[in-house]
Symmetry: C2
Subunit: 452 residues, 2 copies
């Protein structure tokens, strides 16, 4: 056959000082650079050197985790990505932002601005926010119910896409002679009035290079999958086993097909690659990191994921079965709860062992090995239909990303699975996704109101 094999998509999930929860104690990591823009700019340049589709920042609206024993207090992703856009030219730039604690006008505007600033490289990881500490920073004592959060997310996206389409691509006429800058008939109010939002529009940003940012989603509960199937163009997901990953991918694709969205969304499971020159070297690094874990931190993280306070229980026994809630009872991150409790049950792990297993990727797949073995781990899931690409979560930064770009990417390229050069310029180009058309516009009339 002469046709090129299906191509992988690779996204670098960046987080100071790397994804292993003990990374900050390892000599290779740079936890002192949590607020240093050049640290992130250099990581993005490394990703671009590796021809990766994109980089990605997670986000939360409160101090996450116990700041006593892990890095926190870094930079807001959209602001940071604008500074990264200025020193890169191809790599996609995906920011997480919450639909629960934002207003659609602000967020639509920021993503449109980032898309202009980056010449079409913006992506949005749409999350609904899982923690009550976030709610406490936004005038709420209790968290919104999980189902309500997804209802709000749906309406939020309707408003945001309406705003992105509110300027037709050809709205700006710029006729100096006749004195017509823009055609008011090609810039429309959206007049949205729904249960969560009333937004008149239009957006105050001209239509951006990609029309809409790439829409990514990262919740895997029932509601999360349904949202992904209807709206997402790519999905980040944490999967422990090939079997679960294939089942997840099939389920999301079937749901999407039922909504007439064949071939969408792209499925991108996380993988934390612990890379050594040899397998033995990789395993030694993994062990070294496990040794450095702060057990209290791991216990707090695990308690949070399982929605139960495990402190005081024997570390060398499994978490007592009767303590664990059902997924239904969890109002935070439902899918992560289920992943972790399944993992613990399936393998009969003790609390200490679960903490070690979650250290590398908080529930994402961890693979330790030589570059070829990492490439095998990627290729096997890719060929088995579990993934259209991967969310690469280096255990330590910058070394883990350097190793991936310098040793794993060339191996994937040799296998014909990954691009050796960018073929397009926008993030949508990289993921092979079309630019949305602006929907038909209606006329509007606007009042003057500028007195600066």
């Amino acid at each position: 056959m002469s046709t090129e094999p299906r191509q992988l998509h690779l996204n670098a999930f960046l987080m100071t000082p790397g994804h292993h929860d003990a990374a900050w104690r390892h000599p290779d990591s740079q936890p002192h650079r949590a607020t240093d823009v050049t640290y992130f700019q250099q990581l993005a340049q490394t990703a671009e050197r590796g021809k990766l589709d994109s980089i990605f920042f997670a986000d939360g609206l409160a101090v996450w985790g116990r700041l006593r024993s892990n890095v926190s207090g870094g930079l807001e992703p959209l602001t940071l990505l604008a500074a990264i856009a200025a020193v890169t030219s191809r790599v996609g730039l995906i920011a997480t932002a919450s639909t629960t604690f934002n207003e659609p006008f602000h967020l639509a505007r920021k993503f449109a601005s980032l898309d202009h600033i980056s010449n079409g490289r913006a992506g949005w990881n749409i999350v609904t926010s899982g923690s009550v500490t976030e709610a406490n920073n936004f005038n709420l004592e209790e968290h919104l119910d999980h189902a309500v959060r997804y209802q709000r997310a749906t309406e939020f996206l309707e408003v945001a896409t309406g705003l992105w389409d509110s300027w037709a691509d050809d709205a700006v006429l710029l006729d100096k002679e006749s004195g017509v800058y823009a055609d008011p008939d090609r810039v429309r109010e959206i007049q949205h009035a729904g249960p969560f939002f009333q937004v008149r529009g239009p957006l105050n940003v001209q239509r951006s290079p990609q029309g809409w940012p790439l829409l990514v989603q990262a919740g895997s509960s029932e509601d999360g999958r349904e949202f992904a199937a209807r709206h997402a163009e790519a999905v980040f997901t944490a999967q422990q086993t090939l079997e679960d990953a294939v089942a997840f991918a099939k389920d999301v694709r079937a749901r999407a097909a039922a909504h007439g969205r064949d071939g969408l969304p792209l499925i991108l499971p996380g993988i934390c690659p612990i890379i050594g020159a040899t397998e033995a070297e990789a395993r030694a690094l993994e062990d070294e990191l496990t040794e450095l874990q702060v057990i209290d931190y791991g216990l707090a993280q695990l308690s949070n994921m399982l929605n139960v306070d495990l402190s005081g229980y024997p570390l060398d026994q499994p978490p007592p079965e009767h303590l664990l809630p059902t997924e239904q009872e969890v109002n935070g991150n439902k899918s992560r709860f289920t992943l972790v409790s399944d993992l613990a049950r399936r393998e009969g792990l003790t609390i200490r062992q679960i903490i070690a297993r979650l250290g590398g990727g908080r529930g994402h797949r961890v693979v330790a090995g030589a570059p070829e073995q990492i490439a095998d781990a990627i290729e096997s899931w890719f060929r088995a239909g579990a993934a259209d690409g991967f969310n690469i979560m280096p255990p330590i930064l910058p070394t883990g990303l350097d190793a991936f770009v310098d040793h794993v990417v060339p191996e994937l390229q040799r296998r014909g699975l990954f691009r050796t050069e960018y073929t397009g310029t926008t993030l949508r180009d990289h993921y092979g996704l079309p630019r949305p058309d602006a929907r038909s516009t209606e006329s509007e009339s606007l009042l003057a109101s500028s007195s600066l």
Copy 2:
């Protein structure tokens, strides 16, 4: 005397395609670059070449003015300034953001991020937003009352400053050996509960180089002055006459002194310098721009400022006195209403003449002349106590800023009124303002909650 004379502060107010409302029709302007990040990066580099204290972007949360006849749909300032920070190293970066339509947690976080990204160059122009079209994009049919907006602004600032102080400067210990990243006793919850906001804190950004961004304010009504006197470190203001400007500066300084804030805030009136090699050349440019004005646009702007629909009234007569409301009746921009109605009355101007007079600076002072004359206009107000510096509003960009930096700045330097080199690195350094101390911290306990 051997002591250096008091030094001027200069801020470049940047706006596509320049401040004259007909600039976009002039051949020197670049209205096609409204969403082009390199346009703004180059302007910022020009300001930095001129050793200006800062650049500044205004902002609104709706399409401003009539898009048919003026540039609109540009970029969101905070995102844009992060991209500018990446290609500059000294010039301050001031973004406007509204306290009426934002949440303090988001905004405190973005300014702290920008301050880190720029190594201490962030400033915030605090505005309360004057138009109902903005309210319509944020779930409101009516605008909040002027007084309520300022009450909200006061509480907003209390929350934001609390968040900026929530991490002590020495909170991060980074002790890899013992496994302690940050000292939880030096990162405090703010537990704010007030009529507008309930915010638990702490901020999820470490304390930034300046502690707080420079706080700028730009409303000149009674409530606006009081807010400036209590909280602002610098004030932007539109003033037509030296007499009014001196009275304004005295009033704001006296109010500030009554709150124990002697010497604050710095007063920065706007000036639109129309620069020519000779006065005749400058006047020719001014006339050329007046010729290019779109009368319908000017009429809509004027109607908006005067809070009355003037369409249909004879252009060559003054606006009918009985139509004009009182400042009390105005709920939008009170001070601009008063400035414009006073100007019209004082000089008995016709509607057409007012539109011409407002074309250059929307009510700010316009001065046409050779570089020495512009320097005279600056020096005279500076020496008379009307100003600590100026908000420079070039009529056309980039040419108007080039002319200012290449011809007016050297003249001011020759007169010993303006720096020839930056002496500090932060925006606060440039304005001679201290870095705020973090207020005393209390202990906090945080829940773990990260499952990305």
